[in-house]
Symmetry: C2
Subunit: 318 residues, 2 copies
């Protein structure tokens, strides 16, 4: 796939991956609506296969591998959710998945990659280390690289979350989506453009990993430098393919602080009784902080994933 | 209501409370089915109003209060979920709710009672202290006592969970229900008897609060003595009204240890991405330990509640 995915590409992707992913439910909360004065719908990708929207893109990429290159398998670097999604997708086709993970990846994500049969190589938690380690792996194995977000096959796959959402809940005024590398965001932008052009897409980003925010304000690519946020899925920089889509179509990019992210995570766990990871709480935090000017709107939030590290956070206490 | 609730009583209760409670969803998990070799359905009362099935009985009791006694309000003692359910139910009718809570009740449950406008009196964590404190409160206020489980209005209300479940998932071979005071269990037994007599109801209890287990084995009432379990909702003894229903209709009562309860709680959080309280994990733990002899069965589990104390467990770490 060498061009920005079109309407038919995304529809074809959705059809292709449908047997292997969940059409995830949309939840609502009277308490959250009272709190915000908005009419809010949560698209629960924390209930997605492998615990995050990443399964959509990964399955799409693996299922559309050209025949001759399939057997050598797939390879990627990822802080976590793409890694386990790709390992699972590869296991569906019974091909190897080689995964480069930073040494500080959450334990639950490492364990999940192993459970899906992924072969992990750890490296230093820097983009340079990830890329060089991955390059070595690919040279050695002949595997096809499946980038976590800078790949139109991935973008088309992630776009199916918003496509489903729009069909489940028509006439959304706003959809708020977290932004890390921009795969989910650019896919959501395309799906809204094709199927719900009146819906404004707003990106939500941690202040402490605000490269997309800066890129948007300065209208030029600004990389993520030493991001340090509890929202571990959102540390990556935008990619060369996601950046232009975002610049063209995003309505706004809003940031939020660590305390607000933790508060929002806790609120969702405690009141909605669903487990979400901190990255997924970033749009919730942004909405809580900006509720007044969105008052009365129909707002969709994509809850991106549920792979919180319970082992570390909760269960290993003295 | 002075007799064991009949079929019409439970149907009437369901009709009466329907506007004020959720018809909670039933979830399934391919992973859990693979793990157990069973076909398992989870009735998610953790998504119920006020976070537990207790809202069913509390709303039923409050909505059927005789007119002349309504204004003085309602009163109860409860370790938590009944307390907040009753406070919420009373708020629906704008009448006072007086709640006696043990001093060791989870903070999240105390906070929730306050948020619903309940008036709390703390006491020592013993049945004797709870009962004498409550008696004093009732003398002073004239409020009607709504016992957490030993009340046919409550039993009829709790019975509506199994009634819904049977209608959502026909032909269950087994339903596993946690047992504390026995309100949910006796209600589930009645609903299964009336609407799905082929379904065997199995009760699940912590080893460390095994009064129902001992009562069932010895065919006589055995009180709970110094229960000490993480499943804080299941510490109470059976009541004089729930005991005979349980003796007559329960298929079996199985117990499980603290480690298994914690493991099951964690499994559900981590894999199903829903927040459940430890009491709700007791049937899950029982099934995991007895999966082999239930292999191939269609099994329903009532996930009783989701009011886990996140503040204490998760968020207050250094």
């Amino acid at each position: 796939m060498n061009e920005i995915p079109g309407r038919e590409d995304i529809e074809r992707a959705h059809h292709l991956i449908a047997p292997y992913i969940h059409n995830t439910p949309v939840l609502t909360s009277q308490s959250f609506d009272s709190l915000t004065g908005c009419n809010v719908f949560f698209k629960c990708e924390n209930f997605q296969k492998a615990g995050a929207f990443k399964s959509r893109g990964a399955v799409h990429a693996v299922m559309t591998l050209p025949g001759e290159s399939t057997r050598a398998g797939v390879a990627t670097h990822s802080s976590g959710n793409h890694a386990q999604a790709l390992a699972r997708a590869a296991s569906l086709r019974k091909i190897p998945a080689y995964v480069v993970m930073p040494s500080n990846a959450p334990a639950v994500k490492v364990r999940a990659v192993e459970q899906y049969g992924g072969q992990i190589t750890f490296c230093e938690p820097s983009l340079a280390a990830r890329e060089s380690t991955l390059a070595g792996l690919i040279t050695r194995t002949g595997a096809s690289e499946i980038h976590p977000y800078n790949d139109y096959r991935i973008i088309a796959g992630q776009a199916t979350a918003a496509l489903e959402f729009i069909r489940q809940v028509p006439d959304l005024d706003i959809i708020i989506v977290p932004v890390g590398g921009g795969g989910l965001l650019s896919g959501s932008l395309l799906s809204c453009r094709y199927w719900s052009p009146k819906t404004a897409v707003i990106a939500a980003e941690p202040e402490k990993a605000n490269d997309a925010y800066l890129s948007f304000r300065e209208r030029k690519f600004v990389p993520s430098v030493n991001p340090d946020t509890i929202a571990d899925g959102l540390k990556t920089s935008l990619g060369s393919l996601t950046f232009p889509i975002i610049m063209q179509y995003v309505h706004d990019i809003l940031t939020t602080g660590e305390g607000a992210i933790i508060h929002a995570t806790r609120w969702i766990w405690e009141r909605m009784k669903i487990v979400i990871e901190p990255s997924a709480a970033v749009p919730v935090a942004v909405l809580l902080e900006n509720a007044q000017r969105m008052s009365g709107k129909r707002i969709g939030i994509i809850i991106s994933g549920g792979n919180a590290d319970l082992h570390k956070l909760l269960w290993n206490q003295p």
